[in-house]
């Protein structure tokens, strides 16, 4: 880390190798678009590189880096939401990047059901408060512990538990008929 803080890219490249898939998938969870996820996650690496001196080592690098990625993604979705919900709908209908709730090996009617379930899940995630969504994505999709999510979101573990419970309840309510 000390070498990275001296601006030596070859050591930073090791971090890129280690975290690129995680960073990309976080961004993909937020954007649901491969190209946008690629741009945002790469942007997160660049920001991490330029701000590496601000990393004080009090938390682990990945917690610090996750926070950067999440903030970039939240900024992006905020800007995108201003453009309009319809364009977002078009993106997720047209780009089957995420395989969540879909299983191509199933029967056609199952595939249709799974697509509908995915659409509903996406919509529920879109409409839920950002903090709930972030907590849910970091726990369910990225497998972060509640303690780490609290560090990433700069909040308490108790608050993360509340966010998580609310997010899961909302998703369960909206997807109950597909269970």
């Amino acid at each position: 880390m000390a070498f990275c803080q001296r601006g030596e890219t070859k050591y930073f490249e090791i971090l890129v190798r280690r975290y690129m898939e995680k960073a990309f998938h976080i961004a993909l969870n937020f954007t649901r678009n491969t190209e946008e996820a690629k741009d945002l996650s790469q942007d997160a690496f660049l920001r991490a590189f330029t701000r590496i001196k601000q990393f004080d080592g009090r938390s682990s690098f990945y917690t610090w880096f996750y926070r950067l990625v999440v903030n970039i993604c939240l900024d992006f979705t905020r800007r995108k939401n201003k453009i309009g919900w319809e364009s977002l709908e078009a993106t997720c209908d047209g780009a089957p990047e995420r395989a969540e709730l879909t299983d191509v090996s199933s029967l056609p009617e199952d595939v249709t059901m799974a697509r509908e379930a995915k659409r509903r899940a996406d919509r529920t995630l879109e409409t839920m408060p950002k903090k709930q969504r972030t907590a849910f994505l970091l726990r369910n999709h990225q497998g972060l512990s509640i303690a780490d999510i609290a560090k990433v979101m700069k909040t308490t573990e108790a608050t993360v538990r509340v966010y998580l419970h609310r997010a899961v309840s909302a998703l369960r309510q909206s997807l109950l008929e597909f269970v």
């Binding site: 601006g7 890219t9 930073f12 490249e13 890129v16 190798r17 690129m20 898939e21 990309f24 998938h25 993909l28 690629k38 790469q42 690496f45 660049l46 590189f49 330029t50 990047e97 995420r98 395989a99 969540e100 709730l101 899940a121 726990r139 369910n140 999709h141 512990s145 509640i146 538990r161 509340v162 998580l164 419970h165 899961v168 309840s169 998703l171 369960r172 309510q173 997807l175 109950l176 008929e177 597909f178 269970v179």
Partner: protein
């Protein structure tokens, strides 16, 4: 399905948050044991757990991307990092040549120049406002400044005629009254 919906509505609200944490493997040992013992007796909460186990893992599935995607991704990040490093080193090469004191010295000099300009430059600004007024006068008139006097005298004549008219109408009204 309807039975499950009823179960959802009448679920054990005090356990739902703990069940979500239990599903994610979070919580203290004592809490987990409390949830386990509750699950042994509560059919509704067992349904709730079944729903979570049916839904949440499917939501976190992500598409496997080919290795060449990651190779390209990595190459792009490294390329951007190198660009970033070059930009940073360009700036850094400038700073030592001038010395660390140059930035505050330059800032102080700018502030001093602005202060001097504000104190002594008031007269100039008033001249500039006259100049802007003159800019509004057409060029063909400005070319012959004597014409300006001519237009000025026209204005004077116009105002004299107005005064005479006013005086005439006043006399008429006096004559009418005397009659």
């Amino acid at each position: 399905m309807s039975e499950r919906r009823i179960a959802l509505e009448n679920g054990c609200a005090e356990f739902e948050a703990d069940l979500v944490l239990y599903y994610y493997g979070e919580g203290q040992e004592a809490e987990r044991r409390r949830v386990e013992s509750h699950l042994e007796t509560c059919r509704r909460c067992v349904h709730f757990m079944d729903d979570l186990e049916g839904l949440l893992p499917r939501m976190s599935k992500t598409t496997e991307l080919p290795q060449n995607f990651w190779d390209n991704y990595y190459r792009e990040v490294v390329h951007k990092l190198n660009q970033e490093r070059e930009e940073i080193s360009w700036w850094r090469s400038l700073i030592p040549s001038f010395g660390g004191w140059t930035i505050p010295a330059f800032g102080t000099a700018v502030v001093v120049v602005l202060a001097v300009a504000l104190v002594f430059g008031k007269g100039d600004w008033s001249v500039r406002s006259n100049a802007t007024q003159q800019e509004n006068i057409p060029q063909e008139i400005l070319s012959d400044s004597s014409r300006l006097e001519f237009f000025g005298s026209l204005d004077l004549l116009e105002s004299l005629a107005t005064l005479e008219n006013m005086d005439g109408s006043r006399r008429e009204s006096v004559e009418v009254r005397s009659l």
